[in-house]
């Protein structure tokens, strides 16, 4: 089974880096980022001498738009990692 490739857009909201520690935080880029994801996989069952179903290759093209948001607008209830 093969899949036809898909395209989509993704929006990420990230808090403003108010106290950014250089080197270990994500920041919203000035313009969208374009990505390709190439994912060959096989999710299978073994029945006798057969392994079913066959290989799948899933390719996606997507564009990430990042928007910085104020930290005090973030949802609450999530401990910092």
């Amino acid at each position: 089974m093969k899949r036809l490739p898909v395209v989509f857009a993704l929006q990420l909201l990230v808090p403003l880096a108010l106290h950014a520690q250089a080197g270990n935080e994500y920041r919203a880029p000035e313009k969208p980022l374009n990505w390709v994801s190439d994912n060959p996989f096989r999710l299978y069952l073994v029945r006798g001498n057969d392994t079913i179903p066959g290989d799948v290759r899933s390719i996606s093209v997507f564009r990430e738009s990042w928007t910085p948001v104020r930290e005090d607008s973030m949802s609450s209830g999530f401990p910092p990692i």
Binding site: E25, Y26, F41, M74
Partner: protein
């Protein structure tokens, strides 16, 4: 997605328990500044739902900065991850009959990514997992259990705007069709459109490669062909051909056709040929050749054709004996294509919409009835 500065995905589509989507869209970063040899760990858990009940994807990961990559403009930290995954999921195989498939799997995963601290972004990432366990099918009455697994790899890389624009642009033409194999697997997506001046065709392959063809027509006769290709790993490539009194011209150079009747079309884009085929009279087994732009070669066939009031039929037989049958509708659009290889392989191109499939069934019925 709402994400933290250290890469935790907090919500997807406004939901904290969303069952689809990528909860690991970003790799987690540590609280301490990145440096060579730094290690940290995390655990990611999210639910899955399916007919077998609620499942779960959990991965425990240990990160380690393995290299510092210096270039003139930036510094990158290469991070290697070793982890362990447990994954339980189920999906319908025939919801009307109550049939589904289920899996309970576990195993190792590895991942590598590069983080650019100046940009605050990932440069790329690559992961693989090899899970084993049990699974089975529920046939609507009974559930069975057999060995099962998941072997999966993923590579992500950034591409320039122009290439992304070309890959994501809509294909030309509103008439959509798919090519499926003899096993019923879809392998190609096609589009086609046509007016008095232009015939266009679009094509998307499973490897992400996208093709577009545009044929300029003068009183139905092709005069100029433009083929454009783009794929995820390379930028746009274009081929332009012109009809001249002496034959086919490519950037001014003459390409001598091996037969008096000829056309231009890429492999898998037979719709581009339709306008040329329609200029020919009904015939039995005349030589016909097709120039393949990307391959830069002529393929030769025997062509038979027959015109009926509502459709036209074409049969192309190559030198090895493989046959391609085409049905073209009254609007000059390719409605059906069937390829039969000498090795027994078979592919068919059929309309995607139910309305066009009904038109095709009527056409095939009238042909079988001998109308």
């Amino acid at each position: 997605m709402r994400v933290t500065p250290r890469g935790r995905v907090l919500s997807i589509n406004g939901q904290t328990n969303y069952n689809e989507g990528e909860w690991d869209a970003l790799l987690r970063l540590p609280a301490r500044p990145l440096r060579l040899g730094l290690t940290w760990s995390d655990t990611l858990t999210h639910p899955t739902t399916g007919p077998h009940g609620e499942g779960e994807f959990t991965v425990h990961r240990t990160y380690r900065v393995t290299r510092v990559l210096q270039s003139r403009d930036s510094t990158g930290f290469e991070v290697a991850i070793e982890g362990n995954v447990t994954f339980s999921l189920s999906m319908w195989t025939d919801s009307a009959a109550g049939r589904y498939r289920w899996f309970e799997l576990e195993g190792p995963m590895q991942e590598t990514f590069v983080f650019d601290p100046t940009a605050g972004q990932l440069h790329g990432r690559r992961w693989s997992m090899l899970l084993e366990g049990i699974g089975g099918d529920h046939d609507g009455v009974r559930l069975d259990t057999v060995p099962a697994g998941l072997r999966s790899e993923n590579v992500r890389y950034r591409i320039p705007d122009a290439r992304a624009d070309a890959l994501m642009a809509p294909l030309p033409g509103a008439d959509t069709s798919i090519t499926i194999t003899g096993d019923g697997d879809p392998i190609l997506l096609h589009t086609m459109g046509r007016d008095a001046a232009i015939l266009s065709e679009g094509f998307r392959r499973p490897d992400g490669r996208v093709g577009r063809a545009e044929v300029s027509l003068a009183e139905g006769v092709p005069q100029r062909w433009t083929f454009t290709w783009v794929d995820p790993e390379s930028d746009r490539q274009q081929f332009v051909f012109e009809r001249a009194a002496t034959g086919l011209l490519a950037q001014g150079a003459r390409l001598d056709a091996p037969t008096p009747a000829w056309g231009v079309a890429e492999y898998g884009m037979t719709g581009t040929l339709v306008a040329t085929l329609q200029t020919l009279s009904d015939t039995q087994a005349v030589p016909f050749s097709i120039y393949r732009p990307t391959a830069g070669r002529w393929d030769t066939f025997e062509l038979s054709s027959r015109s009926l009031p509502e459709l036209s039929l074409y049969l192309l037989t190559d030198q090895a004996g493989a046959r391609t049958a085409l049905i073209v509708d009254a609007k000059g659009l390719l409605m059906y294509e069937e390829f039969a290889g000498t090795d027994g392989s078979r592919r068919i191109r059929i309309p995607a919409s139910a309305e066009r499939q009904a038109e095709l069934r009527r056409a095939l019925s009238s042909l079988q009835a001998g109308d």
